[in-house]
Every structure is written in structure tokens, then in C-alpha cells.
């Protein structure tokens, strides 16, 4: 896996950018929709009808095992369980209709042309894709991939989508007819549901009649930051390879990024814990208003296909299934589970690698670090500096070369006029229009919502800086400059933040290396007598990098601090978000919290998950509720280590 990761960074891929909409602006939309569509399924695979697919799933030996197991456990007759399975299958099953794709092709061209100036497809797919793995940033993602596949004569994928989408009248139907199948969100312990779903997915992979598209992050990321991958679906997809039922599985990471996300304001509200409207079509597109807006550019980057067989080489013993029927419902061996986890992480990292950054993500980063506004010249200067830094750290930036920089920036600002404005030569975040806030708290939330909106654009660029920034923080908070001390500080920070950023499991040394070599490349780091220290010339970069992580670390510190209070000894999952929010708002008003980002419920929840992972909190089910219990001494230890109060801080340059 390291090999794959390294290969991607070192190889200078010849950029090959296509504008999908370009041709559509010139040609006829209807002609495009009706043209002969001649996608080939994979070599040797025969087309499969929905009913045939369903039948294969229903009649599978695996499902029969599970059904008799469930019937034995529950005492229900097998026929009843089977019927249940059939209805689950119906709810789930995909229904691809080419005529519908054509209609959609037509309609989408219209909509996309309205919405976006361009949809940029970076590097077309060279091989038959098998599993398409896009990141998930907007509901539009679904449609765009299918649209691209249709436009380029590639097989329309079968898409794994969440049930809430099914409820959206129009989009749900579009998805279903364009080949989506629907998955319940909280599957939990429902054994039969798992069985039907996994057999369904495996059957799609085994028969290979169409690519499968799924979101390894599980959910749409509300922060536009990569999410820790979910392993369930990944495992189902890889199983046919483990069992030799397919020769190989090709995973295609797809990185989607937006200049501007349709749901931006929705997202910020969700993050603040304002209950989100059900995902109705109207809620999604707020049709007319959305269509009137310009959303700039959408980038779709099809990464190099990854061969699972290659990844598994020398790691996976496929013969472990030789002595049992392959359909037997068995847990994966620990070896295979680890492998699934690593593959899932790898793909998220590859998605990040190929994410195309817009100038706006960089600008957002600068804006957030200057909450009181910044004058235009400084703003430009800092942004351009950041552009250089980001490029040195391997970011792909789509910065129009033919335009003067100031024009690029001002057009980005125009695109985001709802967030940013300039007043008396000072650029600053603007607040949503509307009646003036009544309470202090309301004012905080109003402000926070803009900050979080802006933060989500920054988040699209965050992965570029994470590792160097962690090293920078570690360097300045470790007890000494020795590489060992810095590294162990790095490991601690990475451990705490492992729900926040995506790291490959058991990969700290490599991440550390990567962070260090990034810093070296930017001239920030000098290694000297086994010690790591920042060069004097580039101190401001260190300061900048520390500031990148600041809002997250601060949020964690605040959450930990609040949880140390008596009232938080035990609490239910439901109450966590509102209670924490209330506590943090209080700290905010008293001036103890500085960053509005501390109000992001996502980050707060991640902080809690980190505690669970690190053994400072435990989770259990009490009467239908999930309850958390805090281990105070463990929590305090973590808090203190994070605050840096237990490590003796070495003053800067003391050893010189």
C-alpha cells in the first residue's frame, strides 16, 4: 500500500483536463441524450437484468444459510424470513433504464449548464473500472458520475445510495432508474438486512455486469473534509476477490471538488446542530434559487485505477477458504479485516491526493486566520504565498494561468459573495442577511455559521497541510528537539486527531516522514545533530501551519475541559451535542473560547470518539439509548498531555 501511495505522489501525471460541458455548450443536448450509447460491460461479463440479479441473490446458498440461521434463532418459519428478505431486496434493488438515462442526460445537461461554468474531468478512465469510489461532498455527485459515464460511453454504474435519498421524490426516482440501489442508514444489528445487502453487493461485483459506485466515507461529508472510511461495504466488495470469485477488483478513486457547493448554507446549519430538513428535493436544490446562482467549477478527477490483486500480493492468503464452502457466513479473518481497513483508508488518501483545489480554498484559509479582516494587498500576498507552499507540498491547484492573479481572486470572491465581502479595502467574512439577532447567543451562531461555511472550503485543502502541520505542532510542543521526542509527540497528536483526519492505520512513521520531508522541501526544517528544528527564515510558515490545526486542537481542548465537569460523568448520545454546545457557548461568551469553529458539532463528536478510541470513555446501550461513561483520570491525562502542561516545554532555541 505504501508503494501505491508513494507512486502517486512522486509521479508527475500529465494533466489531461477535459471540460465535459464544453462540448455540450456547442452541440445539441437532445442529440447527446439520444446518441447511440454503446458501453461495453467488462470483458466476458454478460448483461444482467434486475430480476435475474434479484433471483441470484435470493437463491444464493449464502442467503439460505442465513435464513435458516435466523429462523432457528427466532423461531419464525423460514418462509416468513425469506419473505422478509425478498421485501428488503425489493426496497434495495436497482433498476437501470437506459431511456431514463437518456432523459436524465438531457435534463442534466440543461441543469449543469446552468449551475456550473464547467465540469472538469481530469484524466479519463483508461481501464474498465470496476469499483468507482468518489468522495462525497454534494448530492450532485451521484448524478455527475453517471452523467460522465454516459457521456463517455462507459457503463453506467450501479450506485449504492442511502435510503433518505430514496425518499426524495424526484432525485430518488432518478437515482433508482439510473441504477442506484438503496441502503438503510442505521443497519446496526439487523442480521437479515446485512445478509441481503452483502449478498447483493457481492453478486454485483461477481457478475461484473456494471461498475459499482459507492462512498467509502459512508456519508456525505458535511465539513467537506474526508471522513474516516466505513468498512462494511468495502468488505463486501473485496470478499469476492478473497474467495477467488473474481480475478481482480479495480478500485478507481474519484476526487470531486467544488468551487462552490450547492448545499453550503445547509451544511453550516447542520454543523451547528440546527436540525436539518429531511433531504427533500426542495431542500436540496431549493430549485429556483439554486438555479439562479452560479456555482463555478466542479472538478472530477478519476485517479489511477488500483488493483486489489496488486495490493494483496504477498499479504493475503486466498487459500484460507479452501476447506470451507465459500458461501458459509463466516467472519473475515483478522488478517483480511486489517487488509480491508487499509484498502479503505488508502482509497480515501488517494482521493485526497488528487483533489483539485480552487483558489477559493486557499483564500478561505487566509480569511479564517484573519478573523478581523485583512486588506486586499496583504490578502493577495498571503494567498499567493500559500499557493506556492501548497504546491510545494504536492497540492493540485486549479489556478487559471491566463488571468491576472487579482482577477482570479476577485472572481472567486464574487462567486462566494454570500460569505465574503470587501469593505473599505478590507476583506472579511460577511454575515447572512436577515433580521438582526436578538440574543447574544443568536449573534454567535450567526457568525459561526459563516465561519463554518468558510471553514468547509478551507477543509477541501486541509489534507495538503495535515502532516507537515502535525510535525510543526509536535516540534514546538515536544519536550526537546530530539527526533524521538518530536516523533512521540507527533504520534500522540495523530492519535488524538485520528477521527478528524484520515490516517492509514499503523502508519505513524511513514506519516511522520512525509510531514518532515514536506517541511524540508519548503525549507522550514533543518535536521541537525539528530534534532529537528525550524529554520529561522521560515518561522512564519511554522506559525501558519500551527494555525491550521489550531481550531481543531482548541475544540478538542474545550470538549475535554467540559467533559471534566461533574455533570458529564455519564450522558446519552442524544444529549451530548446540545449540552456540549451550551457549555461551549458559555465559554465563548466569557471569552475563554476564541474560535467559532469550536461550535462545529462534527468536531465535538470526533473528540468524543477519540476518547472512546483511547479508552477514556466507554459506550454502552442502556434502554434503547447509547450512553457514554467518562473515565475521569484517563480523560485528564489526555487533556493534560494535549494542553502540554505535563511536558516540560523547552524554550525556543535553548540548545543553540
Amino acid at each position: 500500500m505504501d508503494r501505491v501511495l508513494r507512486a502517486r505522489t512522486s509521479k508527475a501525471e500529465s494533466e489531461h483536463i477535459l471540460d465535459v460541458l464544453e462540448e455540450r455548450r456547442r452541440g445539441s443536448d437532445i442529440g447527446h441524450a439520444l446518441r447511440t450509447y454503446s458501453a461495453q460491460p467488462y470483458r466476458g461479463a454478460t448483461p444482467l437484468s434486475v430480476s435475474a440479479l434479484n433471483r441470484m441473490v435470493q437463491e444464493s446458498q449464502y442467503l439460505r444459510y442465513i435464513i435458516s440461521e435466523i429462523s432457528a434463532e427466532s423461531g419464525e418459519p423460514p418462509e416468513v424470513v425469506k419473505e422478509e428478505a425478498v421485501s428488503i431486496l425489493e426496497e434495495m434493488s436497482q433498476n437501470l433504464q437506459l431511456s431514463f438515462i437518456r432523459l436524465m442526460g438531457f435534463a442534466l445537461t440543461k441543469v449543469f449548464k446552468r449551475l456550473f461554468t464547467s465540469i472538469r474531468l481530469h484524466q479519463a478512465i483508461q481501464e474498465h473500472p470496476v469499483i468507482l469510489m468518489p468522495n462525497h461532498r454534494s448530492y450532485i455527485d451521484f448524478l455527475v458520475i453517471s452523467y460522465i459515464m454516459f457521456t463517455y460511453d462507459l457503463s453506467i454504474p450501479v450506485i449504492a445510495a442511502g435510503i433518505p435519498l430514496m425518499g426524495m421524490s424526484l432525485v430518488g426516482e432518478i437515482l433508482r432508474r439510473s441504477g442506484a440501489f438503496f441502503i438503510r442508514r442505521a443497519i446496526g444489528e439487523d442480521k437479515l438486512y446485512w445478509a441481503v445487502l452483502s449478498e447483493y453487493v457481492r453478486t454485483v461485483v461477481r457478475t461484473g455486469f456494471a461498475p459499482l459506485e459507492f462512498y467509502v466515507e459512508g456519508l456525505r461529508s458535511r465539513t467537506l473534509k474526508s471522513l474516516k472510511p466505513k468498512l462494511g461495504m468495502m468488505q463486501m466488495i473485496l470478499e469476492p476477490f478473497f474467495k477467488g470469485e473474481v480475478y481482480d477488483i479495480t478500485l478507481v478513486p474519484i476526487s470531486i471538488s467544488y468551487d462552490r457547493v450547492l448545499e453550503e448554507s445547509l451544511l453550516a446549519h447542520e454543523l451547528l446542530g440546527v436540525p436539518k430538513p429531511r433531504e427533500t428535493t426542495r431542500g436540496l436544490l431549493k430549485a429556483r434559487r439554486v438555479l439562479e446562482e452560479n456555482y463555478g467549477c466542479m472538478h472530477v478527477y478519476f485517479g489511477n485505477p488500483v488493483s486489489v490483486r496488486e495490493l494483496a500480493k504477498g499479504r493475503i492468503q486466498r487459500n484460507q477458504y479452501n476447506l470451507i464452502p465459500r458461501d458459509l457466513p463466516l467472519k473475515l479473518s483478522a488478517e483480511l479485516q486489517d487488509f480491508v481497513g487499509e484498502v479503505a483508508h488508502l482509497l480515501v488518501l488517494l482521493q485526497e491526493r488528487s483533489l483539485v483545489l480552487s483558489p477559493w480554498s486557499l483564500m478561505a484559509l487566509i480569511l479564517l486566520q484573519n478573523p478581523d479582516g485583512v486588506d486586499w494587498n496583504t490578502f493577495t500576498h498571503k494567498t499567493l504565498r500559500l499557493r506556492t507552499l501548497a504546491a510545494q507540498l504536492g497540492a493540485r491547484i486549479d489556478w487559471p494561468a491566463q488571468l491576472p492573479d487579482s482577477e482570479v481572486m476577485s472572481s472567486s470572491m464574487a462567486l462566494h459573495h454570500s460569505i465574503v465581502g470587501s469593505e473599505n479595502g478590507s476583506v472579511r467574512l460577511v454575515e447572512e442577511a436577515g433580521p438582526a439577532p436578538v440574543t447574544e447567543e443568536e449573534a454567535v451562531f450567526r457568525r459561526a455559521s459563516v465561519v463554518l461555511m468558510c471553514a468547509s472550503y478551507r477543509n477541501q485543502a486541509l489534507h495538503v497541510f495535515t502532516r507537515p502541520a502535525l510535525v510543526a505542532v509536535a516540534m514546538t510542543t515536544a519536550p526537546s528537539y530530539s527526533k524521538d521526542d518530536v516523533f512521540s509527540r507527533f504520534c500522540f497528536l495523530q492519535d488524538v486527531l485520528a477521527n478528524e483526519f484520515v490516517f492509514m492505520p499503523v502508519h505513524a512513521p511513514q506519516d511522520f516522514e512525509e510531514g518532515c520531508s514536506g517541511l524540508l522541501r519548503c525549507g522550514v526544517l533543518s535536521i541537525y545533530e539528530g534534532g529537528l528544528r525550524a529554520t529561522e527564515e521560515e518561522q512564519d510558515i511554522v506559525v501558519f501551519l500551527r494555525a491550521v490545526l489550531e481550531p481543531f486542537i482548541e475544540t478538542y481542548q474545550m470538549v475535554f475541559r467540559v467533559l471534566c465537569e461533574e455533570t458529564f460523568q455519564t450522558f446519552t448520545e442524544k444529549k451530548f451535542v446540545p449540552d456540549i454546545r451550551a457549555a461551549i457557548v458559555k465559554l465563548f461568551l466569557s471569552g475563554e473560547v476564541k474560535s467559532y469553529e469550536c461550535l462545529s458539532s462534527d468536531t465535538q463528536k470526533n473528540a468524543l470518539s477519540a476518547l472512546v478510541r483511547m479508552g477514556a470513555a466507554s459506550k454502552c446501550r442502556v434502554a434503547d439509548q447509547t450512553e457514554y461513561r467518562i473515565d475521569q483520570s484517563a480523560l485528564r491525562r489526555i487533556r493534560d498531555t494535549l494542553d502540554g502542561s505535563v511536558v516540560s516545554k523547552v524554550p525556543l532555541f535553548s540548545r543553540l
Binding site: 477467488g244 470469485e245 480475478y247 481482480d248 486466498r318 487459500n319 477458504y321 464452502p325
Partner: protein, 631 residues
């Protein structure tokens, strides 16, 4: 002893049987090998009879190739017009022109008739290393009256089997380590004597039967420092007696398949054991490798066929005390012998089951729309336990290959496709020639039952979309199995090398295994710089209750490769790894030899390997049988 009327009855049916054998083996009856009339067996035939009846002489070089497959007079070549021809008069294909072979050959391999890689014309005797003889051993052998030779040709002929690397080296005139001496015992007692002397003088013995090994089993271990003696069993080739009451025959182990069948046929019997190599491979070789015959569905594999085995080991002779059909006397000692690959001793005599010659034989074939359907059909046939004597399913590539072997003029040799079209033009629509595949069938028994059986099988086939495609196609399929081995030599004349290998696998994994292994071969070739996609094809050759035997062919054009054999070996190695990863076995019938030794431990477990080793240590503590196979 049978009565006179019985005898003439038997002779009649024997003649019929000869015709049948000739049907799929030889050109016509009445040639030099079938000239023998059916004759009654005597319990003790005089020794001198032996050489007269055998198809392969003691001096193999008189009629066999020294660096290729089979008879010297039979080979493929491209004539001046670029048409392929098969020479000689032995086979049905002999003397015929195969006009489509060239196109198939060039198209499949990217080969070119201009680019030749001819073999070294003749064995350079001076390049053969002088023998390392144990003089005392030789002395005593001579005294005992055992035939022996140090002639370079005799020794080179017994230094190899038919693995690709072995033949390739010979073609290039490279001679590796070879036996120092060849001995020809003519009976069990001779073997006892030879083994005694070998132990006494500490020389290494390597039993040699028909030389058809495809597992490097006959290769002399390079690390062996003692004098190596090839013990050629070919002169122990008599049927010692036939027991018509129990339907068994007691046979010397050196007899080769075609002689055994012919002689039994003359008495109205057969063993029914027909491995594809039966023209040359020997009874002892079958026992030593656990061989499998094409018609095992009726007659069984070698382990089902043997009733009693006698083997000479350094510890003495091992055999059972009776011929009871089944014994509960601890682990079956036959199973130490079966598959021992010449590491424990020499099999000298075997009592084998025999059957009356079948009254009626009928070929058949079925076309399936694709390989999946074909496998599903075979699986169903196995489930209903109604497999014909033989049922084999070729994949699409092999189907196309069969098509390319269509001779120019011959009524029976109408092209496969034409044959099909003629009969099934209407029904045939919708079959994609790039997906369809063919099963060939052979039914045996009394006429009525055969016809009944045939119907049953065709009915099952129809359920899987299979269409009966005629007898000729089936017959041609089986006939081709005997000439296919000759084709490799033709390939090697034009930069094409190839080999076959096999496995056995549970039913539910047959398709996955076939697909994955074929794909692996293609990918590995590409990765290793093979310029043109290889031929990577398979067929299901045997069905069992719980699985099937799958046979792969793999060949590629090696132009541009500096070490083609190394590439070949790497790919074959990868293919075997793939087989094992997909639940296939290390071998169904070719054996382990030295080629597949590295996987033995994982195949039979540590303890299993230990058990085998301890048997070897007890039976042959000084490693007299030092061919180093298996363990």
C-alpha cells in the same frame, strides 16, 4: 482356461476391438503393430516372446525421437506452400494436409513461418559425458546375466521425461546430467537381483517405464555423486496370466499401454485404462504416478484398477497375501506404492481388473453457448451419476483450435463448424462463435444401454442450452488427443513453446479457477515481456461426485526473450500458485516429481510430509532410489 468356442468368440470380438482402438489411435488395422493376431495367453510365456510383441523396441532410438514427442516418422511440418502436414502412416491424420493450421498458428501466437528455430538435427554423442561407473556393481550384474548398456544414446534417452524444459534443452543440443548405465531386467527376479546389488555397492537406481513423465521425475538429481543407474522396465512386458473367473490379469509392470490393451483385446478383454500417453506409458509408471485414464468413469483410475501390487524395495519385496477385493487391515499399503514416483522401489508385477470388451462404442458431442453452461451441464451429469465413459469440455479457445486442425480432404474430417451448421443451422443461431464451447463424449457398453444412456445425457445437456453436435466431432476430439503432443514440436520450430498442466477442484470452484488461472497466465506473460498474448486455454477432462479435473494448455511466442524457458517456468509457477489459491490441488494425475515438490508440505501438512518421510527412511535408508521426487 477358456473353451475353444469361447476362444473363437473372443477372437471375433477382439478383432472388433482392434478396429475400435484403431479408430481413435491408429491409421488403420493391419499395419505393423496390429498385425498380430489375437492369441490366447499362457500363464507362463517364454521370455523370448517379450520383445516381439512390443510396439516400442528396447533400443528406443530406432523408432522414437530423441528430442521430441513420439515416433520419428510422425511429425507436423509446414510444407513449401505454408500448409501444415502430418507425416507418417500411423495416425488417422497421417499424410493429411491441414490448411487452416497456419492461419490459426500465426494469428494465435503472432508467429511467422519465416522465423524458424530449428532443433539440433542429431544427438552429438561426443557431447555426452562419460559414465561414472561402479565397476564392481557392473561386474556382478554381468555375472547375473542382466542386460545393460553404457551407450550414450541409450543413456540420453532415459535421462528425461517430456517437460518443456527437458525437450527444449535437447533441441538445443544441451545434455544435462544423465544416467551412467541402463539396465534391462526381464522379470521380477532380475529386479530383486539388481536392487540387492545396488544396495551392496551403493549406486543410485532410477526406475524408468515409458519415459512420459511430465514432472521432472526422471531427471537425474545434479547433487547425486554416486553412479546413477536407469532401471528400464520395458522388457518386463508380459501378461503372465488372465483369470477369467475373477476378471483379473497379472501383468509385468513394464508393459506399455498400447501393448497391454492390444494383447488383452486379443483375448476379448480390456483394462479400460487409457491415459492420453497410453501409446508409450507403462503400467509401472501408472502405479508410480497415480495415473488417470480417459475412461475412468467406467473403469476407474489406476488405484481402483489394481488388485495386487508387487514392489521390490531395498528392504525386500512388499505385497499383500491375498487378492481379496477390499481389506480392513490398517492403512492400505498399496497407497504407499501408488504415487511413490520411484522413490521406494520398483513395481514389478501388478494384478489388474479386466473387463470384457464392450459390445458397442459411440462417440458424441454437444455444443454449449458458453463455458459456464457447459460446466453446469457436466456438474449435473456428475450429480446424476450418469457420466459416459468419457466426457470432456473444451473452452472456446480449444474449440477454435480444433477447428484449425481440420484436414483438407476427408469425409470424416468435415470442419467442426460446417458439421454443426449442416445439422443445426436453424437451431444454431444465437450461439456466439467466440463464446461457444464443446463437450466430447464417449459411450461404451451394450448397444441398447448406450443408446439409453446417450439420450439421458443429451437430455441433461439440452437443459443447459447444449445442442448435440454429432458423432464425428466427438470422435475427432478424441483422435486429436493423441496428436496434440506432436504439435508442441511444431511450435518449437517457430519460437512457440508451451506445456499443459492439470489440477482437480471442487465443483463450485471450477469456473472461478479456470478463469483466474487463464487470466493469471495472460497477465504474467505480459509482465514478463512476452510480446504477444499467450494461448491460455483449459478443458474439464474428468468429472467426480465432488469435483472435476481441469487441464490447462499454455503456449506463447518467445521471440525477443533472452531466456524463454525461465519466463515459461515463472509463468507456470505463478499459474500453480493461482491454482492453489483457488482451491485446486497440486496435481490430479501428473504427480509431483521434482517440478512441484516445493508445494508438498503445504499440500499434505507437516505431519503428512513427516509420515511419508518416515516411510522412505524405513524402506530405503540409503536412498538407493535416489531420484529425489516428491519429498
Amino acid at each position: 482356461m477358456a473353451s475353444n468356442t469361447d476362444i473363437s468368440e473372443r477372437q471375433r470380438s477382439a478383432r472388433q476391438r482392434l478396429r475400435i482402438i484403431a479408430g481413435h489411435l491408429q491409421k488403420s488395422e493391419g499395419n505393423e503393430h496390429t498385425a498380430l493376431s489375437a492369441q490366447e495367453c499362457k500363464a507362463e510365456t517364454p521370455r523370448s516372446n517379450a520383445a516381439k510383441v512390443t510396439a516400442v523396441p528396447k533400443r528406443r532410438q530406432e523408432i522414437l525421437k530423441w528430442n521430441g514427442w513420439g515416433y520419428s516418422d510422425s511429425r507436423f511440418f509446414f510444407n513449401k506452400k505454408g500448409q501444415a502436414e502430418f507425416t507418417g502412416r500411423r495416425y488417422r491424420l497421417s499424410g493429411l494436409i491441414l490448411p487452416s493450421l497456419k492461419d490459426w498458428f500465426e494469428g494465435t501466437f503472432g508467429a511467422n513461418l519465416q522465423h524458424k528455430t530449428p532443433a539440433t538435427a542429431s544427438l552429438n554423442v561426443s557431447a555426452v559425458p562419460p559414465p561414472n561407473l561402479n565397476e564392481l556393481f557392473v561386474e556382478e550384474l554381468k555375472t547375473a546375466g542382466v542386460a545393460l548398456s553404457t551407450d550414450p544414446e541409450d543413456r540420453v534417452f532415459r535421462s528425461h521425461g517430456h517437460c518443456l524444459h527437458e525437450i527444449f534443452a535437447l533441441r538445443e543440443g544441451r545434455i544435462g546430467k544423465i544416467p551412467d548405465l541402463v539396465v534391462w531386467p526381464s522379470c521380477h527376479d532380475d529386479v530383486v537381483k539388481i536392487v540387492e546389488l545396488a544396495c551392496k555397492h551403493n549406486v543410485c537406481l532410477i526406475p524408468y517405464g515409458g519415459g512420459t513423465s511430465v514432472s521432472s521425475a526422471l531427471e537425474c538429481p545434479p547433487e547425486e555423486t554416486r553412479s546413477i543407474v536407469s532401471l528400464d522396465t520395458s522388457q518386463m512386458n508380459r501378461i503372465l496370466w488372465i483369470d477369467e473367473k475373477n476378471l483379473t490379469a497379472h501383468v509385468e509392470a513394464g508393459i506399455i499401454g498400447q501393448d497391454l490393451e492390444r494383447q488383452l483385446n486379443e483375448s476379448g478383454y480390456c483394462t479400460g485404462h487409457e491415459p492420453d500417453s497410453m501409446e508409450f506409458s507403462s503400467l509401472g509408471g501408472w502405479v508410480a504416478t497415480r495415473a488417470s485414464g480417459m475412461k475412468k468413469n467406467i473403469y476407474g483410475n489406476i488405484e481402483d484398477l489394481v488388485v495386487h501390487i508387487k514392489m521390490v524395495t531395498p528392504r525386500g519385496v512388499i505385497e499383500k497375501s491375498c487378492q481379496g477385493p477390499r481389506l480392513s487391515t490398517g492403512p492400505d499399503i498399496h497407497h504407499f506404492i501408488l504415487g511413490s514416483e520411484g522413490t521406494l522401489g520398483v513395481v514389478t508385477e501388478v494384478t489388474m481388473k479386466i473387463r470384457p470388451l464392450p459390445e458397442y462404442q459411440k462417440y458424441g458431442s454437444v455444443v454449449f453457448p458458453n463455458f459456464q453452461q457447459g460446466v453446469a451441464c457436466l456438474r449435473e451429469v456428475a450429480k446424476q451419476r450418469c457420466a459416459p465413459a468419457s466426457i470432456r469440455l473444451m473452452d472456446n479457445e480449444q474449440f477454435q483450435f480444433g477447428h484449425a486442425l481440420k484436414p483438407q480432404v476427408s469425409s470424416i474430417f468435415t470442419s467442426f463448424l460446417e458439421g454443426l451448421k449442416k445439422f443445426y443451422i436453424t437451431k444454431f443461431k444465437g450461439f456466439d462463435p467466440h463464446h461457444l464451447c464443446v463437450a466430447t463424449l464417449l459411450f461404451e457398453g451394450d448397444r441398447e444401454k448406450v443408446l439409453q444412456h446417450e439420450k439421458q445425457v443429451y437430455d441433461i445437456a439440452a437443459k443447459f442450452g447444449g445442442l448435440a453436435a454429432g458423432e464425428d466431432n466427438g470422435q475427432r476430439g478424441y483422435m486429436l488427443t493423441f496428436v496434440i503432443a506432436y504439435l508442441r514440436d511444431l511450435g518449437m520450430d517457430y519460437y512457440v513453446i508451451g506445456e499443459s498442466f492439470e489440477t482437480s477442484v471442487p465443483w463450485d470452484r471450477v469456473l472461478d479457477l479456470c478463469r483466474n488461472v487463464k487470466e493469471r497466465i495472460v497477465r504474467e506473460c505480459k509482465e514478463r515481456g512476452v510480446q504477444f498474448p499467450p494461448l491460455s486455454t483449459c478443458r474439464v477432462t474428468q468429472t467426480y461426485d465432488a469435483g472435476a479435473c481441469v487441464y490447462f494448455y499454455f503456449a506463447f511466442n518467445y521471440r525477443g526473450l533472452s531466456d524463454p524457458i525461465h519466463v515459461y517456468e515463472q509463468v507456470e509457477h505463478a499459474a500453480r500458485e493461482e491454482i492453489l489459491a483457488n482451491g485446486g490441488s497440486l496435481s490430479h494425475h501428473h504427480g509431483v516429481g521434482k517440478l512441484r515438490k516445493e508445494w508438498m508440505r503445504e499440500t499434505v501438512s507437516n505431519v503428512g510430509l513427516g509420515m511419508l518421510k518416515s516411510v522412505k527412511e524405513y524402506v530405503d535408508p540409503n536412498n538407493i532410489f535416489g531420484n529425489r521426487n516428491l519429498l
